[in-house]
Symmetry: C2
Subunit: 407 residues, 2 copies
């Protein structure tokens, strides 16, 4: 049985029983009609799981989602806005996040505390609540399961992203079809343990909360948690997975093979969205896959990969298409995991750069070709053990700095 | 008794008995007559101490300096070149570094293994040894203790620095004068545990190796180790302190007060050079002093300060003169030291930004004035304990990224 993958799909409305409504309520207070609020709803009750930022400073909606998920009651969807992160907004922010979730429930006529809430955008500014609450009511009137409605929801959650990020994975199971459909936003503050990134996965499988949690956490580790644009972890990072059972497939009652397929579908969707997030990082020009192998243990491998992927000097040289391997080795060295220069191999794609610490300068012309590509691989073999880690990183550009001068 | 401080002094020739010679030997292989090699020599034997990069990848000259200092024999000076770091150059690089030290000894007619050696510049390229060796011989013929010779040495060690960095501190002791004279270079890879930074302190006091080591390490902690430009730690970072006793003051035989004055002089010189290094960071436009206080312990305070000082988003907003405190709080939060948003105070200079987590928006106009200054302070009070840490950081500019695209 194969998993069918649809890139740039309509997104969450691909999953049976999920409706979306997106509207413009001028959260940015700029008088434009840009879509900035999305409501997603399943009349059938859902189980759900979430992973969230590890930042000590958690935005109000993150805290509200964690409380709602902890309560473990059946859910019916979520409301998400862009333009304002509702972070560092104190008790008022918390009250506002609760009120958004509450309004989603009353507007759809569904039970209280059955909607999750996410926000992304500027930190430290109170939400324009009257417009947001009116917007949620309006969005509930615009709910529908068409492709256009799915696409509008994916658009409404964007901030500095240049394009919507959606995909769908499906697989057949005993005459039925299980769908995992998703949308995400990214762009800045993209690093360890996610970023100002929101991702929403909706599936029409039925599944236990515990199974969803394990599946999402497992997928998250090698996808959303293994990307970096700027090394900044946000206050709002959230990935949600909702399962409404509308496909008629209950993963708690199938043979293990169905659960394996489902986990693969979730991983595929997360990997595709994570790659889209890095590829659409603010003003970036390159996506580089950093693989550190031969490490003593996983933590060591990850530490070295992140030191390389977050080095401003390494990232600047990628922007400049300069095969400056000295900066890569320098960054790996200051991760201080016991790298031994004389044991270290380094490759651009499959071309040797260092073998046992010695530069293979005869390949210089080929190195230059490789780093001119929009995507390439850096493989560092420490030759100290068997652990490996893969991190997807972007370069840093003058455009990034200019773009982030002010908001 | 007061310490006299002379900023932008002639540098190391201010200390009695230290001669300098600087020459151009085209280490960059660009056919220019830019000064790129400095020889510093004291005919009277010196005790010495050094602090070095903690990078796993240590350049050949760093390894050679560590071996020579470990041997503990009397020293007579050092040779330093710019344009090539002699890092990641394998066994040949190590042999070359030893040969440079050796040539300095033979050219001056002083004992073998009595010269230290430092290099800074591009990583991963073999030194042009014939020109360097001829250069050392030539420099030994140009040795002298004039101000002009001190200034030439300070110029020869520069890489992307826009200006030489020198200063001198002196204090009287029982009719004699003790001088600590110094020069440094910085500019890129400036972060934790130093950077591609070299600093040389020469004093005409006599002192034990152990006293020099403790004094230098203590000063280093709050000066060279507490600065960041780009968060990248180099393979070559070195600070050396040489003491030749030519002033006639032997710190091993004075009352403690003289040692205290000496330690203060060393600290003053290190602090001044560290500030010059950040202020002359590659294409930077601001120097920001980050003070984290009210932390549970020193390590926690330092971790938060470094998270803020190395955040690409924070640094970009400084460049943009945007008082974006949300990014500062976000960075402090992802340091993950248990920050409690509702307890946290934040100030730009002495103006409140957050008090107990609540934004003091009535001061917005003042915040904007402060962040427009070329230098300002950010104070974050966690209100969790009594520990504090101060880090001197720069912004990041489009110019930095453009400059570092290639070398």
């Amino acid at each position: 049985m194969a998993i069918e993958f649809i890139d740039d799909s309509p997104g969450i409305t691909d999953a049976t029983g999920f409706a979306a409504g997106a509207i413009a309520c001028d959260i940015r207070e700029k008088g434009t009609d840009r879509l900035d609020l999305a409501l997603v709803c399943s009349t059938a009750p859902c189980t759900a799981a979430g992973v969230f930022t590890l930042n000590d400073v958690k935005a109000a909606p993150v805290r509200v989602c964690q409380e709602i998920l902890f309560a473990g009651k059946p859910l019916h969807g979520f409301v998400a806005n862009s333009g304002n992160a509702n972070a560092c907004t104190g008790p008022q922010g918390l009250a506002d996040a609760w009120e958004m979730a509450q309004r989603a429930a009353t507007a759809t006529g569904l039970p209280a505390s059955s909607f999750l809430v996410c926000s992304t955008g500027r930190i430290g500014r109170a939400l324009p609540m009257p417009r947001i609450l009116a917007g949620i009511t309006q969005a509930s009137g615009a709910l529908g399961a068409t492709s256009a409605q799915g696409r509008s929801a994916a658009e409404a959650i964007l901030t500095s992203d240049t394009k919507p990020k959606t995909c769908t994975a499906r697989f057949p199971w005993q005459g039925k079809t299980v769908t995992v459909a998703a949308m995400a936003k990214g762009a800045g503050m993209i690093q360890p343990n996610m970023a100002t990134m929101l991702a929403f996965l909706c599936t029409d499988a039925a599944a236990s909360t515990e199974f969803l949690r394990v599946t999402l956490q497992t997928a998250n580790r090698t996808t959303f948690n293994a990307i970096t644009v700027d090394g900044d972890m946000s206050t709002n990072d959230t990935v949600l997975l909702l399962a409404n059972g509308a496909s008629g497939v209950d993963l708690a009652k199938t043979p293990p093979a169905a659960r394996t397929l489902f986990a693969q579908a979730v991983e595929k969707v997360c990997a595709a969205l994570a790659e889209k997030i890095v590829g659409d990082g603010e003003k970036i020009s390159k996506v580089v896959a950093i693989k550190v192998q031969g490490a003593k243990d996983d933590a060591t491998a990850e530490k070295v990969a992140r030191a390389i992927g977050n080095s401003l000097l390494v990232k600047s040289s990628w922007f400049g298409e300069d095969p400056n391997w000295g900066r890569i080795l320098d960054a790996a060295g200051y991760a201080r995991v016991g790298l031994v220069e004389e044991k270290t191999d380094l490759f651009y794609d499959d071309t040797p750069v260092l073998l046992l610490g010695a530069a293979q300068n005869q390949h210089l012309a080929r190195w230059k070709e490789i780093v001119r590509q929009p995507r390439f691989r850096v493989t560092l073999d420490l030759r100290l053990g068997a652990a490996a880690y893969r991190l997807l990183a972007s370069d840093v550009t003058e455009g990034y700095v200019n773009y982030n001068k002010s908001e």
